[in-house]
């Protein structure tokens, strides 16, 4: 495939039907290659083969997951909030006052293991371009992360690099980081999860779609020059394995990001939108030009003709196949009416962004690509972009699932007295998963753009959208691989429930969902079963909660050798808040506030933080899900926030009630005295992870009004304590000074990574 070799033209392909082709090395299966030949009525050219192989890879075609993802559409709850649904670069949600919000989470797992800094950085870059391509101004990012054991030497390599990469790219773009997750578990040792979420804001009339229509309209490639990076990255890197097989020599699989170039691309693109200069637009991500041209042409009405010689190159030795597959970052592709081309190029010049007309929309129905005067691609674009193979992969509940669920944590030794209880509280609170994440989040700019109302460590990130009306949005992401391993259906629902609850806890009304489904190899029936269960669980739960899935990402083949990661559905929920000044923070900031526990507490410790930290145990069943209860809880939290009945709220999740108390006390700088309610043991009260619960701080003057409201609506509440003093005290059990707690909670990550 070198530039000096004879170019494999369409004509040449027609007369050399038997020429051997490296379809297997490119990741295609025999029947897939046969199908390509059938579609074209001849063998594909090298360039066509490159395009099909990359577009039909798992990463781009969703061939294993498609049949399951269809449920998100089929079971989508009726809502009039959705302006653009699944299938576009990102979904778009109506938040009122003429504003629309688009948001999406994506993975960059495999690249981040190989080269943590650049892998994570380009992950941010990619998701930001997705949001930009919808017509929105990106306004914030979030980063749900999973790493191997906190004390494993390789985690010391991966985590600091990933964090520096996310910060290095996001900070330089000027996007506040408003939240995320950091979870450690040995199952992610050889396969960290680096998910990245971006949210953007626009006016309804500014929505842009990725389609090429209007015969004669020009296709403009703008942004960075095309280099040899990431070639084969999509099909080889993202879908199959980590080994070097099949990668063309001296073509780096690692892409280096240039955040400054992306910042220029953002400003330039927004100016282009403002002047209404584009008819269609698409970012270049995985599969580069192959993807952008085939998707634009496929979604549009006509065909497209591209002149590959016009593409500005960083490396003149690239072959046409490589140019089509290159994943060079910071590029976009726009469809522009001829009369707007001059102005378009002028805006790009103002921002020092290279822009080149590389083709035009034709009145045919083919995607035609030329190189050095000869035709090298002639395909029906739909067959490349939207009609890839679809698999119904076999799935089967793994044999070990029963034994895992039978291994109930009820058998684990529990703390015998107050002293031991205190030790366990301290151990859980200072364990890597529960400890303060400041060492990480302090490397992220949370202030830039001046609209960050809430950020880490709050339950959700919150952004002001309109400074005049105080309209805002909140977003949280959650996912608990331990729960999902015990029961993928319930685990996915718990991820949604927690994220939904986090958004409601800050006073925002949950509206819509994005998800990143991180799983092992789809060729393993056990993994496929986990995937099928998780998607079914998520789709069912979205239906009940009335929050449609608007888009997301599937990341498969997350495994080291034969060992798959825990199934890890990461769920992001977007909510709207009419007046951000009414947000509910998590801090216990005032002495004398009364603490009320909302919801029911049962003895539920399967997959819990306590079982993990104290006993290294994973077994039993995850907490039960009651979605109607989650809805009711959210309504109460919203009403209480709107009517000023609560000063603080914190959702209960990993680590249970005591973990929430610790976090809210440390944030507010005040202690709390807790009383164990009747009917619960101190241990269950403190550590159970029953879902559908939150802790709120109620001013004395509002207590009756608040509890009356809860009673009237049927939500159980119990007064469990009061904000007071300088310690977390559980009456009759133990006292734990805030100083000691803070020191322990703050020390963990710096000791490991500082």
């Amino acid at each position: 495939m070198s530039a000096h070799a004879r170019v494999d033209t369409v004509k040449h392909a027609e007369v050399t039907p038997e020429a051997p082709q490296p379809w297997a090395e490119l990741g295609l299966k025999e029947d897939e290659y046969a199908r390509i030949r059938e579609i074209l009525g001849r063998r594909p050219t090298g360039a066509e083969l490159a395009m099909y192989s990359v577009m039909w890879s798992e990463h781009c075609s969703y061939k294993s997951s498609k049949v399951h993802l269809a449920q998100f559409g089929e079971k989508a709850p009726a809502t009039d909030a959705l302006l653009v649904g699944i299938g576009e670069n990102a979904g778009v949600v109506d938040i009122g006052q003429g504003y629309a919000v688009t948001f999406k989470v994506e993975s960059h797992n495999h690249p981040s293991y190989i080269e943590p800094y650049q892998g994570a950085a380009t992950g941010i870059g990619g998701i930001v371009r997705d949001i930009l391509a919808m017509g929105a101004r990106p306004v914030a990012v979030m980063d749900p992360l999973r790493f191997g054991a906190a004390d494993h030497p390789d985690t010391r390599r991966v985590l600091p690099g990933v964090v520096a990469g996310i910060g290095g790219y996001g900070n330089c773009l000027g996007l506040p980081n408003i939240g995320g997750e950091v979870v450690f578990d040995p199952c992610y040792q050889g396969n960290p999860l680096v998910n990245a979420l971006c949210v953007g804001v626009m006016r309804h009339e500014d929505i842009h779609l990725a389609k090429a229509s209007g015969t004669g309209n020009r296709v403009i490639l703008y942004g960075a020059r095309t280099g040899g990076d990431g070639i084969g990255g999509v099909s080889v890197l993202a879908s199959e394995t980590f080994d070097d097989a099949g990668k063309p020599a001296k073509r780096p699989a690692v892409q280096v990001g240039d955040p400054f170039q992306e910042k220029l691309l953002i400003e330039c693109t927004l100016e282009i939108f403002a002047e209404k200069l584009v008819a269609g637009i698409q970012d270049l991500g995985g599969a580069g030009l192959s993807c952008a041209t085939s998707e634009l042409a496929s979604a549009g009405s006509g065909g497209m003709r591209i002149d590959l010689d016009a593409v500005p190159l960083r490396d003149s030795s690239l072959s046409p196949e490589e140019i089509l597959m290159s994943e060079s970052q910071e590029r976009m592709c726009a469809v522009v009416a001829p009369e707007n081309v001059e102005r378009f190029l002028a805006v790009c010049a103002k921002w020092d962004v290279i822009a080149t007309v590389i083709g035009a929309v034709t009145d045919g129905d083919r995607l035609e690509i030329h190189w050095r005067g000869e035709q090298i691609v002639d395909v029906p674009p739909r067959t490349v972009a939207h009609e890839g193979p679809v698999y119904r992969r076999p799935f089967a509940r793994p044999a070990w699932q029963d034994a895992l669920q039978a291994d109930d944590p009820a058998g684990l030794p529990r703390p015998a007295d107050g002293d031991e209880l205190r030790d366990h509280v301290l151990a859980v609170a200072s364990s890597p998963n529960q400890a303060s994440k400041s060492w990480i989040t302090d490397q992220y700019d949370r202030y830039v753009l001046g609209n960050t109302v809430l950020s880490q460590p709050e339950d959700s990130g919150m952004i002001r959208v309109d400074a005049t009306t105080n309209l805002g949005v909140a977003i949280a992401t959650d996912g608990n691989g331990r729960y999902a391993k015990l029961d993928p259906y319930t685990g996915a629902q718990l991820a949604l429930a927690e994220s939904y609850r986090n958004v409601a806890a800050t006073g925002a009304r949950p509206l819509a969902v994005t998800d990143c489904l991180n799983f092992g190899s789809p060729e393993d029936p056990a993994v496929m079963w986990q995937f099928a269960e998780a998607t079914r669980g998520l789709a069912d739960a979205c239906q009940v909660l009335g929050t449609p899935v608007t888009g997301g990402n599937v990341s498969l083949y997350n495994q080291t050798g034969d060992a798959a990661i825990h199934p890890t559905p990461v769920v992001g929920v977007l909510g709207v808040i009419d007046d951000v000044t009414r947000r509910t923070p998590m801090a216990f900031a005032t002495e004398g506030q009364l603490l009320h526990l909302l919801g029911d507490t049962a003895d539920e410790l399967g997959g819990s933080a306590w079982a993990q930290v104290v006993h290294g145990h994973l077994g039993g069943l995850p907490p039960r899900v009651d979605l109607e209860r989650e809805r009711l809880l959210a309504e109460i939290l919203l009403a209480a926030s709107r009517d000023g009945m609560i000063d603080a709220a914190h959702d209960l999740s990993d680590g249970g009630l005591v973990q929430a108390v610790v976090e809210s006390c440390l944030k507010g700088g005040h202690g709390a005295r807790l009383v164990v309610p009747d009917g619960l043991t101190p241990f269950t009260f403190l550590f159970s992870e029953s879902a559908g619960r939150a802790l709120v701080a109620v001013p004395r003057s509002e207590e009756v009004r608040f509890t009356d409201m809860c009673a009237a609506r049927g939500l159980p509440t119990a007064r469990v304590g009061v904000v007071t003093g300088e310690a977390v005290e559980v009456q009759g059990q133990f006292t734990l000074g805030l100083g000691e707690l803070r020191a322990a909670v703050d020390a963990t990550l710096p000791a490991l990574f500082g």
Binding site: N171, C172, L264, D442, Q443, D445, V448, V580
Partner: protein, 228 residues
């Protein structure tokens, strides 16, 4: 007549919008200035905002210093025009030699974003008149290269002439020599600091409103300073 405060946008500037918002909240009129345009459009004062101008690739502020707008600003500053450099703006001012010293990689080698307590050491500048001497304020700090360095003689001179304008309180966040967070030129019209006062102008979105004083300082006193 309202005071007109120019805020420069370099390619890669990030906090230019926030600086304009702060100017407005302080009762002045923000004027957007473009890096490629030498004309200052009759502004009474200029802010060089935070960000990563030109990607900060060579050294922070190194490329921005040579932009057309800086030519006019350097000239103006020498003639008494009030100029405030925030974070990247401070780096640009040092690279332009309007302020002495340089900003280097944080000693812990990480980008750091946190609410920082500062002491106002001098109110004799165009940008700190609204504060009280010794006042303690909290504003966000966020940078990767905020360690202030200069040779001993320069540091002694800055101290002796009362030109250290802000000092870090609590832990020094980046290894800055003598806890220096911000300095001024001998005339007091050019001030540079690493922390971001423009992110402390609304309690909803910042740690408080301590940053407002920077922007109110320059309102009204501008004519007087230029005359000096």
């Amino acid at each position: 007549m309202t005071t007109r405060v120019g805020v420069v946008t370099f390619p890669g500037s990030l906090d230019d919008g926030d600086a304009r918002r702060a100017v407005k909240l302080a009762g002045a009129e923000p004027v957007a200035l473009w890096h490629g345009d030498k004309d200052l459009h009759q502004v009474d004062a200029v802010i060089l905002p935070g960000g990563f101008s030109y990607g900060d690739y060579l050294r922070c502020g190194a490329i921005a210093r040579f932009s057309p707008v800086m030519e006019t600003i350097i000239e103006g500053a020498r003639a008494g025009l009030p100029v405030l450099g925030i974070c990247n703006g401070f780096q640009v001012l040092c690279e332009s030699h309007l302020l002495p010293g340089a900003l280097t990689r944080n000693d812990h080698l990480h980008f750091i974003c946190r609410d920082q307590r500062l002491r106002v050491e001098s109110t004799a500048t165009a940008w700190t008149r609204a504060f009280a001497d010794g006042q303690e304020i909290t504003v966000p700090l966020k940078n990767g290269e905020g360690g202030y360095v200069a040779d001993e003689r320069t540091l002694d001179e800055l101290e002796a002439e009362g030109r250290v304008v802000f000092r870090y309180l609590d832990a020094n966040p980046n290894g800055s020599r003598r806890d220096i967070a911000g300095i001024t030129n001998p005339q007091g019209n050019v001030v540079g600091l690493m922390p971001h006062p423009e992110h402390a102008v609304e309690s909803l979105t910042g740690p408080g409103t301590d940053g407002l004083g920077f922007f109110t300082s320059v309102v009204g006193v501008v004519g007087e300073l230029v005359a000096r």
